[in-house]
Symmetry: C4
Subunit: 219 residues, 4 copies
Amino acid sequence: MDSRRAESFSDGVFAVAITVLVFNLLPIADRTARRLAFGGPGGLGHYWPAYVAYMVSFLTIGIMWLNHHTMLAQVSKVDRPVLVLNLFLLMGVVAIPFPTALVADHITGSSGQARVAAVTYGLVMIAISIGYASMWIYLAAHQEALGARRRIHRPRLSTIRFTAGNAGYLAGTLIAFVAPVAGLIVFGLLGVYYLVEHLPSLPAGDDDAAGSQAATEQS
Amino acid sequence: MDSRRAESFSDGVFAVAITVLVFNLLPIADRTARRLAFGGPGGLGHYWPAYVAYMVSFLTIGIMWLNHHTMLAQVSKVDRPVLVLNLFLLMGVVAIPFPTALVADHITGSSGQARVAAVTYGLVMIAISIGYASMWIYLAAHQEALGARRRIHRPRLSTIRFTAGNAGYLAGTLIAFVAPVAGLIVFGLLGVYYLVEHLPSLPAGDDDAAGSQAATEQS
Amino acid sequence: MDSRRAESFSDGVFAVAITVLVFNLLPIADRTARRLAFGGPGGLGHYWPAYVAYMVSFLTIGIMWLNHHTMLAQVSKVDRPVLVLNLFLLMGVVAIPFPTALVADHITGSSGQARVAAVTYGLVMIAISIGYASMWIYLAAHQEALGARRRIHRPRLSTIRFTAGNAGYLAGTLIAFVAPVAGLIVFGLLGVYYLVEHLPSLPAGDDDAAGSQAATEQS
Amino acid sequence: MDSRRAESFSDGVFAVAITVLVFNLLPIADRTARRLAFGGPGGLGHYWPAYVAYMVSFLTIGIMWLNHHTMLAQVSKVDRPVLVLNLFLLMGVVAIPFPTALVADHITGSSGQARVAAVTYGLVMIAISIGYASMWIYLAAHQEALGARRRIHRPRLSTIRFTAGNAGYLAGTLIAFVAPVAGLIVFGLLGVYYLVEHLPSLPAGDDDAAGSQAATEQS
């Protein structure tokens, strides 16, 4: 299958998953039905964790979409194992609104509840990280068969980079066991890190440049 | 109508339907609002059937998307009957989150309730299988008019293969009447079977290879 | 703007709107939480209007998607008024799950409630019909400016055809005031009528053939 | 990354976000479960603010989609900062159903509640306006690097125009503090203003013409 077809379907899934996050906000309109106010125990301000969780998960899914595109842009076609790995990856991404809701509802609860929410969030992130690493390793190992647009010449470095992401989410999850809020801050910082990582203009030959070049070529 | 246009719309429907599955998880965040824990009667672990059902249905819809693509990639254009058949097919796919919710909520209930849930799940799967078989038979019968990219030369074998799928879901549904959990395991195994069926690299001339070749040609 | 860009956005809206219909089924899984059965007062069978409403509205939105495509395939670009008319049209299509839910919940209620539900359904359909007629009339009137792929040579006939659709929904709505179920049957038959209308293979020069030809040319 | 890829993902997000608005209508079918009528305290007419809010927000998101397309059509590729700015922009757009629900539920409540709802709506609009202005300024400043399809020759005027939009939403929000309904009318008028702004056919060289020309060229 042409890799663009798989990308197109994945894009749709990402677009829906990122929009599903707003469903964690909609019940707030209902809950505050009798005493809508900015402040106070039932006011809109009371639900600040829901807004923060919305923003963090929105950026997280957005960044995952970017990385997903960069990854698939390396190859020109995909085989059945890639499609299956992709399904497992998307299964994790689509699930994100669930731990997001857990965190939004429980992070200000008792420390035991906050721990459960934050750790669950971390576990989903670890599962997704493993999904990305698996697909990347597979793509690097089968680059000829998949018609790589240019040599994926840094499998080891890339693996390390992904592993670093994994390690970050693993560390955040472990921290969340002891201090849930601190764990969530780690998750937020990991998102910001991935967000700004490529912000400086990149030298030619970089992953991202190659991705955009490939996209241009295929048009 | 160009077959790619129909595929594009179908892809969107598949992408939304697969993401709707997470709405079966979101209420768990709410239900556990007062006593969030990993274990215990109201803990996250208590809802394991919801997670299993999410994963099975996610993979099932994902595989259906793959097969849908392979099927439509055989032809270059579609006529009105194909579009109508496609609508009936999608009607079944979009409904999947409903029996998934039934199974998630009731499989651990009384055996009578589990039976109703598992059988309903099976009936929806049978309906979808019939939809696929109908479209495949129609495509094979009108391949010249639909501009088949290459001769669909094994209508009988293909029909048998689809019938095998139908028989599997039929058998699973019948088993579910007696032993609901066993029926669901059959449905899960059918998903795994379709998932791995094409994993080994295929000889030239195979359906899937033709699909990916056609996709390459049309770019 | 290129007409395909507008089509692509519209396709996405149609795909999501058609999938939203399943949200009218999901609460059934919840409502029957304590006494899941096929028959009986709280059984799955009790909610048959929800299944019928799901199927009718699914086919209706699917057919609207087909007609939307046929309509926009006539021109190669769209201007601001077309885009605005398109937004009003989509606004009606996206609203369909709402009257669908009203009908599903109330058609088996008192005759007063059934009337309100059926009439509301009809009013939404009339609004959408007006939207289609408006856009068709505009496209016919500005076909040169919009780069019509071939002469839209039957504006009057087309207008009549659309008006016939309008008249059908108007009649159905009036009937629904007196006999709600009869009105809904009219709406269902209108869907079936549009579904099969083009089923026989069409002579060259027909709208649908032109649409598919145009789609082929643009690839 | 090719700008069309970013547009395609954004289109999907817009399409889902605009469809999510109907979820503010669906509970009405449920709320009126016992006494469905057109008029009366629990009748469908009672929920008119929900219908108005649906229409205003639908058109607002639709117009934002149009402007988003016009903006991105100016350039042929996007870099990481554009993608990040785009994510923040979409984050605001996807959130619109939330203040829409607040307004629908509370605008007919006490003046204090109406104020909170209307001001929240305005704040989200201001955030989105800032997002558009930021991206426009960035695109204008980096037009060479981003392969502008033609010179973006009116950065200052454009900035002013966007600032005018910002000022309108700011004024509406301030008005909403004193008179919530009046503030909402301002928001509605701003939507209508953007809707008709480009209705007259534009002279060559205009933004919109360039966008459609660019779209034609890229096909």
